[in-house]
């Protein structure tokens, strides 16, 4: 069965330093993968989506993710963190035409 594992439940970075959020997936075929962000008291917002067109995917707000089939990973990065990046981030894999499987989430804290 398709699933995702987010390797860090919490990441703390200083403003202006890089951010790395790690995600591994398991899938019996080439999956569709997503990263979503949830700011406090808000719903989830799509950051980016991988659907096999290119292994490096650029998203909104300066985020990008790289699909590595050999490592079954889909890590999310940003070169320079901003205070507004403080949020919870979810890695998601498409299980079927209608169903998605969500990781447990990574909470990002940004220190001034």
């Amino acid at each position: 069965a398709q699933s995702v594992t987010q390797l860090d439940s919490h990441v703390s970075v200083s403003e202006g330093t890089p951010v790395l959020l790690r995600c591994n997936y398991s899938s019996s075929y080439s999956p569709s993968l997503f990263w979503y962000v949830q700011h406090p008291n808000k719903g989830l917002q799509l950051l980016l989506k991988y659907t096999s067109a290119a292994t490096l995917v650029k998203g909104i707000n300066g985020f990008e993710a790289e699909f590595k089939k050999s490592e079954t990973s889909f890590h999310l990065t940003k070169p320079s963190a901003h205070m507004s990046d403080a949020a919870e981030y979810f890695c998601v894999v498409s299980v079927s035409d209608y169903k998605l499987s969500f990781g447990a989430g990574t909470t990002v804290t940004v220190r001034a």
């Binding site: 719903g43 799509l46 989506k49 659907t51 209608y98 969500f102 990781g103 989430g105």
Partner: protein, 113 residues
């Protein structure tokens, strides 16, 4: 922009009550979903609907039912609320099928006492 509106931001209900959570989307999306979100567990799918009057169980349907009488509205029903249903409930919608991104509402935080 797609707007998914959940009727209540916060709800407090008593054990045994019948609870209705309402969700409306304004972009004529075929598919609608109800998730619950709990710390450390991510989002878990309760039910989804791919057409009016159609519904499918998700991963945790026990204790819940749904109704979709109109395309834009998807209701989640807790038949007899219990304390273990205290959670954040998120509604989402997508057009078509095959990996389309979800559009989420802002959530309803339900507390059952």
């Amino acid at each position: 922009d797609v707007k998914v509106t959940q009727s209540s931001r916060y709800l407090v209900k008593r054990t045994g009550e019948k609870v209705f959570l309402e969700c409306v989307q304004d972009m004529d999306h075929e598919n609608m979903f109800w998730y619950r979100q709990d710390p450390g567990l991510g989002l878990r799918l309760i039910y989804f609907s791919y057409d009016v009057k159609m519904k499918e169980k998700g991963d945790i349907p026990e204790g819940y039912s749904v109704s979709r009488e109109k395309k834009e509205r998807f209701s989640l029903i807790l038949e007899s609320a219990s304390t273990n249903q205290t959670s954040m409930y998120l509604c989402a919608s997508t057009p078509g099928r095959g990996g389309s991104p979800l559009h989420f509402g802002n959530g309803t935080r339900l507390t059952v006492t």
